[in-house]
């Protein structure tokens, strides 16, 4: 019952007042570019990689997960309304889990649908489904990570951007060791193993991808629940 209420409040905070419109342009861009390339008759080898990986998995997935994942709890902390929930005698898991579910669902829907469409246009229904499934796994792991970040630091979005831009974006290209801790690489690997195509290039092994995704999700959810147990509400200082 309480879970429902928290889910409802969170969903309204994320989508209410036409804020859901802000989540639309990125997915539409993926579909638009895929349709455009297909319409011009370009071979998928040329446009598949920039659209599916470069835009879909490297930008749309982490950015939407970042906004949704830090938004579900972070904006309540910013506004101070988190106090109303924290003063209720609820297990902290009953606060974190519904919020994680909302963030994951929002990210998964706005990522899986355009990736499915683009995957079908690029190759086959199989690739579309594989990308959608892998995108959902990624949405869960990213959301758990960013939700935990919003409880660990006062600047979760910037720290999340450091992870997405510097760790996955810059270092992932140069230092191969960082790929073991990169959710983006897990998603690419999972999609590639479900529907092998030359469009995707798996750089870590499937067991690593699956185990690490699960570890990210469970570990950061546990961290978030733990941090919420001893959460202190402080005013904005700097």
């Amino acid at each position: 019952m309480v879970t429902q209420t928290i889910t409802w409040i969170t969903a309204r905070g994320l989508f209410g007042r036409r804020r859901f419109l802000l989540l639309l342009p990125l997915p539409l861009l993926v579909i638009g570019l895929a349709v455009l390339s297909r319409g011009f008759g370009v071979a998928p080898e040329h446009w598949g990689e920039p659209v599916l990986v470069g835009l879909g998995l490297a930008v749309v997935l982490p950015v939407i997960a970042l906004i949704a994942g830090t938004g579900v709890l972070g904006s309540e902390i910013d506004d101070g309304t988190i106090v109303h929930i924290l003063t209720k005698p609820l297990p902290r898991s009953q606060i974190v889990l519904p919020k994680l579910a909302v963030a994951t669902a929002a990210t998964a829907v706005s990522v899986a649908v355009p990736l499915y469409v683009a995957g079908v246009l690029a190759d086959s229904v199989g690739l579309g489904l594989a990308l959608a499934a892998a995108g959902t796994v990624g949405a869960l792991a990213y959301s758990a990570l960013f939700l935990a970040l919003s409880l660990v630091t006062r600047r979760p979005v910037l720290l999340g951007l450091v992870y997405v831009l510097v760790w996955e974006g810059l270092l992932g290209n140069f230092v191969s060791g960082t790929r073991v801790l990169s959710i983006q690489q897990y998603v690419i690997t999972i999609a590639d193993k479900i529907a092998p195509t030359p469009l995707l290039e798996a750089k870590v092994s499937l067991p690593v991808a699956l185990v690490m995704s699960a570890l990210f999700t469970v570990g950061f959810t546990a961290l978030a629940i733990d941090r919420l147990r001893s959460f202190s509400v402080a005013g904005e200082t700097s």
Binding site: L22, P25, L26, L29, L33, L36, S37, F40, G41, V42, H46, W47, E49, P50, V51, G54, L55, A58, V59, V60, V63, L66, I67, T70, G71, G74, S75, D78, R154, R155, P156, V157, L158, L161, V162, V164, L165, V166, G169, L170, T237, S238
Partner: protein, 287 residues
């Protein structure tokens, strides 16, 4: 009629007859304050973490490039290519600084206080834009200057130093172009929301989502579209203007006869962003 008993004493009240600092002073203060805010100066250590992290990474990269060049004697990254190499860090820097400059003012409701001074609406926008552009220019130009100093001191004769100056100046102009385009777009996105978190996410989304468009347009089966592809993303737009002004660094990227168009779009983009900011602040101030 009773005797008047009241007396007015002259206790020395005077009109202010000194100089009035006026509009230029307000503008200068706002600009200086913005530039200091960009690097977290005069604020807590927490506010310095992210700007100085980016500045440190860019400066160290510049230093390493300069050292490699001094040791090996070959240019790994030219002055012009340096901003291109650092583009992701510039995006992150703008995402950190732009919300600090404008979103905080929106959130804490200080705009009516600002506009009650002799400060025209436009000056607020121009001061913030100039502050952010200067900050980005310092971020890129500082390491370029560092590379120049290392190269100049390891040069054999004076003419080599002059050649180096001839390379540095276009590099600094190019960095200024980067600064203008990125500051314009960053401020515009940040001015839409008072929440710094959303502003930062929005800025990164705008910059990153446009990059793959270039990739797609570059492979479409039309030569004109390929040559126009670089227009569709801010960083590649600046890159295109750089090709037109200073020539293609490796000869791979062709913009055909569209060089002037690139320059016009870049100027138009900055002007458009500033115009939209002016419109935005006309509305914010009245509400």
């Amino acid at each position: 009629m009773s005797e008047l008993s009241g007396v007015i004493h002259d206790i020395g009240y005077q009109r202010y007859a000194g100089p009035r600092l006026g509009r230029r002073y307000v503008f200068g203060s706002l600009y200086t304050h913005g530039l200091r805010t960009a690097f977290g100066l005069g604020r807590s250590a927490k506010a310095k973490i992210f700007p100085w992290f980016v500045l440190g990474v860019v400066a160290i990269t510049g230093l390493i490039l300069a050292a490699v060049r001094a040791q090996l004697g070959e240019v790994v990254v030219t002055y012009n290519a340096f901003p291109d190499t650092m583009s992701w860090l510039v995006i992150f820097f703008v995402a950190v600084v732009a919300p600090e400059l404008v979103s905080r003012d929106l959130r804490s409701g200080v705009l009516p206080l600002y506009f009650s001074r002799p400060l025209p609406r436009g000056d607020y926008v121009y001061a913030k834009f100039a502050a952010l552009a200067t900050a980005v220019w310092i971020l890129l130009g500082g390491p370029q200057l560092l590379m120049f100093l290392v190269a100049a001191f390891s040069a054999d004769n004076l003419s080599a130093v002059w050649t180096e100056v001839g390379d540095l100046v276009p590099g600094l102009i190019y960095a200024l172009l980067w600064a203008g385009v990125f500051a314009g777009i960053g401020l515009l996105v940040a001015s839409l929301t008072g929440k710094r978190a959303f502003a930062a996410g929005g800025i990164v989304a705008v910059f990153l989502m446009t990059t793959p468009i270039v990739g797609v347009f570059a492979v479409l089966p039309s030569k004109a579209l390929n040559e126009l592809a670089l227009l569709f993303s801010p960083s590649s737009l600046v890159f295109g203007v750089g090709i037109w002004l200073f020539g293609s660094p490796d000869g791979n990227d062709d913009i055909g006869p569209f060089g002037p168009l690139y320059a016009a779009v870049a100027v138009g983009l900055v002007a458009g962003c500033v115009a939209l900011l002016l419109a935005r602040y006309r509305k914010v101030a009245s509400s």
